[in-house]
Point group: C2
Chain length 158, copies 2
C-alpha cells in the first residue's frame, strides 16, 4: 500500500480530498489542528477548518480544477466564518482566475505551501466561541467512531 492510499476500508480519495490531506499536513506544522469536511452552519460545508494555537480560525477550500472553482458560487459566504480564507490548488491550476482577496495555498497529497496570506478578518467573539465548540464536538464524535467502530451502528453519524 503506498502512502497515498486511503485505509483499505475507505473509498478512493477524490482529487480535492488529496489536496485537503496535504493542506492538513502542512498546517499541522504551523500548530494548526484541522478538520476536513466541516459544517459550520446548515447548508455550508468547508473542505478544511483549521484552528490555531490561539484559537485562530482558518477556512481552506480545495479546488481540483477550473470547473471546480467556477461552479462554486458560495465561497464568499465562508468569509464570515473565519479569520482567514484560502484556496488550495495543485501546481497545474490556473491561479490567475482566483480572487486576490483570498489566500493561496499550493498543495498535493503529501504537503502544501502557503503562497499568499489573505487579509485577516476578525470573527465576532460569539461566533468564534460557537465554532470552537462545534469543531470540538464534531472532531470528538468522529474520533470516537475510529476508536470504537462498534459505536457506528448505535448512532446516526452527525
Amino acid at each position: 500500500m503506498s502512502d497515498l492510499d486511503p485505509p483499505s476500508t475507505a473509498a478512493p480519495m477524490q482529487p480535492g480530498q488529496m489536496l485537503a490531506r496535504g493542506v492538513c499536513r502542512h498546517l499541522r506544522g504551523y500548530g494548526f489542528a484541522c478538520v476536513e469536511e466541516f459544517v459550520p452552519a446548515r447548508g455550508l460545508r468547508v473542505d478544511v477548518m483549521a484552528l490555531g494555537p490561539k484559537g485562530e480560525v482558518w477556512v481552506i477550500e480545495c479546488k481540483s480544477g477550473r470547473a471546480d472553482f467556477t461552479s462554486d458560487h458560495k465561497w464568499q459566504g465562508y468569509l464570515d466564518w473565519c479569520d482567514r480564507y484560502f484556496f488550495a490548488v495543485d501546481a497545474g491550476f490556473p491561479v490567475e482566475i482566483l480572487p486576490d482577496e483570498a489566500g493561496l495555498i499550493l498543495a498535493d497529497g503529501f504537503g502544501a505551501e502557503i503562497i499568499r496570506h489573505p487579509e485577516e478578518g476578525r470573527l465576532p467573539a460569539s461566533r468564534r466561541k460557537a465554532l470552537h465548540l462545534n469543531v470540538a464536538r464534531t472532531a470528538a464524535t468522529r474520533l470516537q467512531s475510529y476508536r470504537d467502530p462498534g459505536v457506528a451502528g448505535m448512532f446516526k453519524d452527525k
Copy 2:
C-alpha cells in the same frame, strides 16, 4: 474478532479503558461528545472529557477496582476543570467507598448508566473557553492521525 476487541493494530484495552468506552457510548446518546485520556493542564489527565450540546463540561474518571480508587489522590483536583464530575465503575465495585459529592456511573465495555448526578459546579467562562479550544485541537489532531496514518511520522503526537 468480537465487538469487545480493539482494532488489531492496537494494544489490548485495559479494564479502565473498557469502562471508558462504555461511558463514551452512553454519553453519546445524551448528545455528549467524548475524548478519552484528555490533558486539561500539565500534570492532569482525565479518563473521559465530555462536551455537551451547550458546552457543558463533564469529567469521568474510570476506576477498575478498589485499589485504583484508593491510590488516586488527585481526583479533587479535577473538580476545577468541569461542571460535573463522575466516577465510572463496574458492577463489582464497592461503590460505598466513593465520595457522595461525585456522580456515579455504572459501566462495562458495551455501555453505561448514570446512577447519580453530582451537584453542578460552574466553570469560569475563560476556563470553559480554553477547554473547548483544547478539546477541539486535541480531537482534531488525533482524528488526523487516524485519517492520515502517514502524518504520524512527520510530527510528534501531542
